[in-house]
Homo-oligomer: 362 residues x 3
Amino acid sequence: MKKSLIALAVLASAAGLASAQSSVTLFGIVDATVNHISNSGGASVTQLTNSGYNSSRLGFRGVEDLGGGNSASFWLEAGVNNDNGSGANTNLNNQPGAANSVGGGGLTFNRRSTVSLAGGWGELRLGRDYTPQFWNMTVFDPFGTNGIGTNLALTETSVPTAVRASNSIGYFLPANLGGFYGQVQYYLGERPNNTPNKDDGTGYGLRLGYANGPFDVAIASGRTKYLAGNADQSNIAGQWNFGVATLQAQYEWDKNTFYPGAAGANLKARGYLVGALVPVGPGQIRFSYAQYKIDAVAGTDPEAKKVALGYVHNLSKRTALYATYARVSNNSTSAIAAGGGAGNPGAGSSSNGYDLGIRHSF
Amino acid sequence: MKKSLIALAVLASAAGLASAQSSVTLFGIVDATVNHISNSGGASVTQLTNSGYNSSRLGFRGVEDLGGGNSASFWLEAGVNNDNGSGANTNLNNQPGAANSVGGGGLTFNRRSTVSLAGGWGELRLGRDYTPQFWNMTVFDPFGTNGIGTNLALTETSVPTAVRASNSIGYFLPANLGGFYGQVQYYLGERPNNTPNKDDGTGYGLRLGYANGPFDVAIASGRTKYLAGNADQSNIAGQWNFGVATLQAQYEWDKNTFYPGAAGANLKARGYLVGALVPVGPGQIRFSYAQYKIDAVAGTDPEAKKVALGYVHNLSKRTALYATYARVSNNSTSAIAAGGGAGNPGAGSSSNGYDLGIRHSF
Amino acid sequence: MKKSLIALAVLASAAGLASAQSSVTLFGIVDATVNHISNSGGASVTQLTNSGYNSSRLGFRGVEDLGGGNSASFWLEAGVNNDNGSGANTNLNNQPGAANSVGGGGLTFNRRSTVSLAGGWGELRLGRDYTPQFWNMTVFDPFGTNGIGTNLALTETSVPTAVRASNSIGYFLPANLGGFYGQVQYYLGERPNNTPNKDDGTGYGLRLGYANGPFDVAIASGRTKYLAGNADQSNIAGQWNFGVATLQAQYEWDKNTFYPGAAGANLKARGYLVGALVPVGPGQIRFSYAQYKIDAVAGTDPEAKKVALGYVHNLSKRTALYATYARVSNNSTSAIAAGGGAGNPGAGSSSNGYDLGIRHSF
């Protein structure tokens, strides 16, 4: 998720509208991975994928100083599938269904498209943005919800707002609150008020945290409304930097994560993750172990366990080589693949995979 | 429609191909709006939309000095729906039908994609561009055909070339003609000559105006051919800047605007708009009143009336806050919504709405 | 295919991650053409097209110096249909079928999306890239596989990997091998290993050449696997620069180019092209003659002949006007159009066409 910043020199235009304090930044990441997944129950596949370490993207952003400590800014960031050149879809209204997921393989600013006003009072942000509950999950994950080692709890989630929400209005607390930080977000499904599903896709989330020196902890929770009920996601997560290693942990409790039409309503689920980031010379060892269990209405509760181990070798601040291995073990009613959807194993199977990749940022 | 220019510094490349006189400009607008529409007959909806004041966009343009007063230039400009990150569709051949409207929610250079040669003799421009008849309508509209206050006559129009045309060849008169200005445009539907609808999507438009000091007036007319007849749009519009206020007015006469397959052929329509822009400190009050009436073949002629009032508060030349209120009153056979298509009222209903937004340009 | 380089000034960012030796380049071409095609058997059509001289595009690329002669780089390049503002589709997995061709008219990085490591040992390149066999064909074609004069052998080819391959891993020999150059490429169809068509879309290609002063020659060959067989493309091509003219020639031998589902399996085809580029003041005359014949299983072998003549007038290094005329003559079982697919003639017909265009690069 880290990006190098490249500030493009800005000259005063003929109209004199651009000031020296303003900047527009072109930025991005191109991350390519040789990925292999094999399942105990059957299929294996070798692919060239993207975003094994950091999500591939192309973005444009800028900040304008308004004076008095205030600023205006914009951020337009598109997901790029650099293995084949296609773009990533975005979602119009936070609702499921193919008609609401648009892009068709063309570029969209699915990752973020916002305009903000900020000052000593905090930041007001409008547009498509990460949900607070996702942000808390990815920040304290050694694998940053990317690649074969991605967060197990995220893999199990399929609501459209699991990562981002469209039509959102967000507020972020200012810095310098003695270590406290936080945000609230409200997003609109944009349905007319006289329809039965008038709240479909409407929801909210919040995050509150405290960071002090080596210590950082935060709690987040969000709810998206659907015709047949709510999808709730909550988590508490944190890290402690001991110098020789940063330890990370998170605990998730979700409800009805599988929204209506999927496996069933009113499901509860619990999961946790423990991990570590260990600096080694110019590189970093990454490790995580996670469990996720769904409280099924009947029968055996589906449960998956995941272990992931990786190494990142930095050739520079912008360019890295990396390797990751991961294994998911499923119980008799669980069918989760290492790395997410691709190469889905049968229920009760284990799934193994690795990434060998290059990450280049600009 | 105004944009701040950000000239990116251009260094001579290793190949020495770029000259100091040339520039490439990255530009755009991110405009987000909390929009609410309610209709007397029923539904209301609250949305986060885009382009309430100026159309959101991302563009790339540049000019090369060819010497002798001549230049070459390009302009690639994509519409951006920054509320959800998607892009806007473009039209392949100026014809109606879903197959001709492409993009699928991905970014396209739907707003403009042109290459030009220009000199003392004027400008030759090839590609996708605004039609002259639309340009005349938007320039003299206090709300610039954007947001809840958008031009009523444009709302009533549904031909693919109402705003822009693809495959166009345009010529613009040079500046310094004593205040006279003008353009002609011809666009191709690109059908083979041995098909019954060989002219579908082919058309032309022209605009001629005169500006002198506070005074500016222009007339424009365009025709697009379809299998079952022509769609004609014409208007005359102007403004006078009195210092304390700029008054604007326009009159439109359209024919068969509802092309075959829509409400009926050979319909004639008449409309007008009067408006004002009043500078108030760092801001501007905007007002318009418009009527549009269709001369129906039988029954009561559909007629709509619209009033819009707004205020723009400039935080800087690039960033503004704005609020707009608009109301459309429909007679018994008209069903036009404030702000256009969204939240369509029943025939005879009124439609009210407002925008509260931020416009940031770069 | 030549592009002018515009290096954007790069300032050190606040985070200090960007170094002075690094650069990000925004580049592109906007090429618009008035194109007319008429066939002896019937239809004619006049269009505004794009890429008559050079392929229209918008791209972002950059190089990072890693020290020790090594570097990392990225290249994201999108095809742009500037006549109507749409983008070009890309292919997910090198397989035929509409579901694998994505973009929907939105922008994709279909032309190239790669990340590379390079050094004295050569270059490793991952992503979507040209195939070696196509590269050899376009480099030694006076019309560069663009516009009405485009390479006849390419027009006859319809495999998804005829020009580029997704999910590719490429290696390029370093420069300074005494004039020898070369590359190998392997690309993945990404099918699970337990499916009947597990190799669909997987393939490889290589190219080896030698250049010395005015002389340049290279051979290339590639194979893509499909369920019902292989599609092979091979060619040998070269040029000699005599000063007053550069002569070019190529010979192609293809097998089963029409992959299963098209005209038939196990077809063999042979073709050749001879051409010349003649500098004339600030311009260049271009000429080519080509034949292509398919060894049909039964009946008359389809055979087409093409002649193309054009002139490019450079207004600057970045901007050119051009005109091209081409004629394809088909025998009784061939139905190839001048310029490719548009305005397809009947079998045995001839097809004539011309381009009149502007090419502007940045």
